[in-house]
Subunit: 243 residues, 2 copies
């Protein structure tokens, strides 16, 4: 990793690594270096926050390694998880005129490293490298599709179906092949699943217990391993027809 083909700006990453991320798609190696040079690398261990909902918007982040939970907290104190961001994904205040506070919190779900641009830098960079803007729009489009789907599920589906879909997404997003099946490769509690699906940890616990009995998965303290991913998917689909 220290033997990048191109100029390495910092010991933490090479331009090769960055070039593979969608934010830099179609951007020349030299330009990537220029853009990355305007960022700092920041690290947070599991549980630490990158920023809190309500903080003054200051930075835009791109995750290099780890996993970050993007969540909101309501006035009644209830948490809702918007998404989990993995390596290559952007998070932070989407700089639009009038936005002064982060509308969400970003907390490391495992030890994480990210590139951090400040607000004005990223603004200039987007103007200077239009391709970055296009890529950002593209990424936002995908994210939109995701939250739209989740919104629709929340509006029309039962809890069990939503949990099945949430687990499927986590597997796609951060699944690691292990002996028993596919492990979600960061600590996930029942409460986390509940915040993703708009239910309570109790209900999640009951559902997982049921599926464990059916042999679909295996789980423990903040650990979920899907033994039968296909079974999980067809469960998500079938629950619509029969229930």
């Amino acid at each position: 990793m220290s033997a990048g083909k191109f100029f390495i700006t910092r010991p933490d990453y090479s331009s090769d690594d960055l070039a593979q991320y969608p934010f830099f798609r179609g951007v020349g190696e030299r330009d990537i270096v220029e853009v990355a040079d305007r960022a700092r690398v920041v690290s947070h261990v599991r549980g630490e926050v990158f920023f809190n909902q309500g903080d003054a918007v200051a930075h835009q982040y791109m995750l290099l390694s780890g996993e970050v939970k993007i969540a909101t907290i309501s006035m009644e104190g209830e948490q809702t998880a918007m998404r989990y961001a993995g390596p290559g994904e952007l998070f932070g205040g989407l700089l639009y005129e009038g936005l002064e506070e982060y509308p969400v919190s970003a907390v490391a779900a495992k030890n994480s490293r990210a590139l951090r641009w400040n607000h004005s830098s990223i603004h200039k960079l987007l103007l200077a490298y239009p391709r970055l803007s296009i890529n950002l729009i593209s990424l936002l489009g995908r994210e939109f599709t995701l939250i739209r789907n989740r919104f629709q599920e929340l509006a029309t589906e039962r809890v069990e179906q939503r949990v099945a879909r949430a687990l499927s997404r986590l597997v796609d997003h951060a699944g690691k092949r292990v002996e028993k099946g596919v492990l979600i490769d960061f600590p996930v509690s029942r409460q986390d699943i509940a915040e993703l699906t708009g239910t309570t940890l109790h209900t999640v616990s009951r559902i997982l217990a049921k599926w464990e009995k059916m042999g679909i998965l295996e789980s423990g303290r903040e650990r979920i391993c899907i033994c039968d991913p296909h079974g999980l998917v067809s469960l998500a689909e079938d629950l619509g027809h029969t229930g």
Copy 2:
């Protein structure tokens, strides 16, 4: 309207009208004309669709007048409303690589006119006028905040509270001052409110009947007029504390 201060490209609109919309913020009059010239004006009467979920992505729209419902339909046939777009708002496939079908439908909630760019035109324009990209990102950011809030409400709040918020938003978005209070200025059925809030038209009907008795609003067939907007807002807040 035909006496615009600047060059008028079509009888339908002047560059003045366009300059006030956020998509064109910071863009010169001449450039606005250039961009608008790449679009066609399309009209649809109430009930007609601009495009259907699943259609091949071909166009990006900016609404000039009217109101457009952006909604999805699930595999089980249930509709979910994502938002209502008013004049100046953009809708259509957010061009990202890999997107081939519209993920939502857009249907005129009243007679509507829109600018329509085709896919490749808008792509070129965004590259040629970086300020447009910035504005688009800005608009997406706002839209994101909106759907995030709605998602959180759906995940944590009761139906009554969600309906109160939905009505408040409709008032802000399309409220028209009338004698009795503020009228939502396009046809809105109980079913429409239900699709916005993830409930059924029956529940909406009961809630509106209750509020009508309380003197907060007045409603009829596809018509809702808020007599006491502030009461509605405090209802949305209070339902959290007491319920």
